[in-house]
Symmetry: C2
Subunit: 443 residues, 2 copies
Amino acid sequence: MNLLVDGGIVVSDKVIFDGAVAVEGNRIVAVGDSSELRKRFQGFERINARGCAVIPGLVNTHTHAAMTIFRGYAEDLPLFDWLNKRIWPAESTLTPKDIEVGAQLAAYESLLFGATTLNSMYFYSEDGSELHAFEKAGIRATVGHGFFEKTVESGLKITEEMARKWHGRDNGRLRVSVCPHAPYSTGPVSYKMAFELQKKLNSLYGERGKIILHTHVAESREEASVVKEAFNVDVSGGVVVYLSRLGVLSRDLVMAHTIHLTEEDVRVMKAFDVKPSLNPVSNLKLGMGVADIIKLIKDGLTVSLGTDGPASNNTLDMFETMKIVTLLVKGLHGDPTLLPSREAFKLATEYGAKALGYDDLGAIRPGYLADIVLLDLKVPHARPVHDIFAHLIYSARASDVRTVIVNGKIVVEDRKIVGVDMESFLEEVERVKESLVSRIRVS
Amino acid sequence: MNLLVDGGIVVSDKVIFDGAVAVEGNRIVAVGDSSELRKRFQGFERINARGCAVIPGLVNTHTHAAMTIFRGYAEDLPLFDWLNKRIWPAESTLTPKDIEVGAQLAAYESLLFGATTLNSMYFYSEDGSELHAFEKAGIRATVGHGFFEKTVESGLKITEEMARKWHGRDNGRLRVSVCPHAPYSTGPVSYKMAFELQKKLNSLYGERGKIILHTHVAESREEASVVKEAFNVDVSGGVVVYLSRLGVLSRDLVMAHTIHLTEEDVRVMKAFDVKPSLNPVSNLKLGMGVADIIKLIKDGLTVSLGTDGPASNNTLDMFETMKIVTLLVKGLHGDPTLLPSREAFKLATEYGAKALGYDDLGAIRPGYLADIVLLDLKVPHARPVHDIFAHLIYSARASDVRTVIVNGKIVVEDRKIVGVDMESFLEEVERVKESLVSRIRVS
């Protein structure tokens, strides 16, 4: 189906006031003035964008989608109690059905909130249950099966099988990644095996899209010493430096968190063009600290943003994430001129897409993939509009999303997921949760 | 009109799952189980709260409501450029009409976002133009005319006149405050005169509700030295200590910001039960720093929250403010157990009400004023519900507000302001903005 998004404020490389975007198949084919494009693309189905901002879909570069099912389940706890007493016991009882429902919920929330791409790491996806959910929901996603030192063999096998079956599905909308969990939970040999698998999968399936490596790095202050303790390895220079000695760094590597880095860590990240994904909401909520985004940007890294899992956020709201990261930069450096809103917007769009190995996503640009969000401006909190980027970062609410197009298909219309009876789905979510909680209590 | 809010999760002193709230006139008369209250209050108009959380309206204890008109007008600038180059030149051209429209916009945004009470300081309210707006919009508000050293005489006169005409209007919904702007802009004698006026007005009109003093304190690191420089006064010990020496402290004093306090400042605030209003979003955005809320709470102060004006936020979203203040506490102290969500919720409700001199507002409690918000839980980002307070602080979005009652009257129904044609009002906002911008450019 061909679409003409018509009559909105189009936030492309420049801002077009009465603008339009033409979409053929899953790609943007033209961006320009409404009057002109209306003439050129007469047969296209017209989507009225009057009173809306037309923006690229937001890209969430780090989450654990299925964990929506634990939203609010483990609160106000130190990290290790959060994990050991609440999250891990709960996770141990999860069924593939729970994971699918959780991931579906995450996809709906994300789409309704204008995030069209998720980079999700989760476990138990032997049968691709997150992927099934994302396939159904119509969201763009990169999905990896996280593995630890103990589960590396099965982990690599599952990953390979997932890649074979799923990578590049639905016209490239779904991708698979390789996910060693973290340097403190996954040993040096396993990281090397993961890297080798990444190379192999890219040579096998690379023409269907990049296969990235996705891992957690430097979330806690103690990580280096925990890594050393766990695997008796040399972590001098920092955790990233240690990984670089293993030879696993590349431009196709997303490192989530990267809060506690050394100077050398940042240098090697830059040298290999590694992609840090910052998760400010989760990091604050769990008391992990604040990543120095300004340093990373100044040093030339491609920084993107994630929400982390909804058990430690507790949303998948990328608008909130953009605002909070911007506020933190200005507030903690005491300098309101840092990270202007036009730049902050790129973190959650273009740079996010680059992090996931796309060179044709994250902007409203001819030739790019058609992931487009229409944001209602006819609401009191959006008025008046003096500056559209300030609006997008500070005033827009995720709930302003009216229409969402992913890969050229309309997935949200008039603030509703197309073709889904949300009320009965949410009842199913509560049933899954009740059953889950009863199992945790029994076990 | 009598109302029965029926069938929701009522967040009262305890959480009532199938709960109800009965309202007679402008007061809550009963809170309890739905089945019981339905029998007791049969003639009451029934408001269906099924699938909703029923919470007290949020209280925003520091804003400059009319500044919505400058939302996004002055971005990414240092404070003094923000003020001198953008805000003050723009403010100098404001008409009473601009202020009324700006304040009306602020009231609508606030109500739609579940904030039922505003504490607003603004200028040029000789004819009560913010008050006219708030009267029309149906929001609860305390309004003061801010004055500087140069305008103290007219300021006090205007305040007195405003109090005579407006204080306690509409069944106590509107109140007037006395607003010396800040210690660096308003001198010691003026503060004393303001305090005397507060006493006088309380003795004249106190039975219609408390008249508070509302001022900015310790927003910037340099404030003490600027005060000393400007007025040649003794600021040893801190800015609050200086104000205490003037004899103007009391429990009926709201101090906005209070970021840069000395130990002695906090001690005298506690001694007089002064009410700090923290504005974390604005403070971060302008690079002013972060108030140490945990210290203030531990020292026994009644801390409340404000958004500040929408030119430095850029919203009036108190849900966002609750989340950000909680995240900052946990993240910057590195301790996720601090400020649990049940406590954080009080900052924006009960403690906010206390700060504004109410002892019967900010909770769903029999005898309390009927400011009630119904929050939709039938949305993906609210599910599942494991913990209602975690939901309110972390997952709820301001846009979940479905119904709002202020002083016993329904002002928001089905996410719309009752009786307002929003589309044409927002067109008026854009016209006011256009005219304003053209006048600034010319001047």
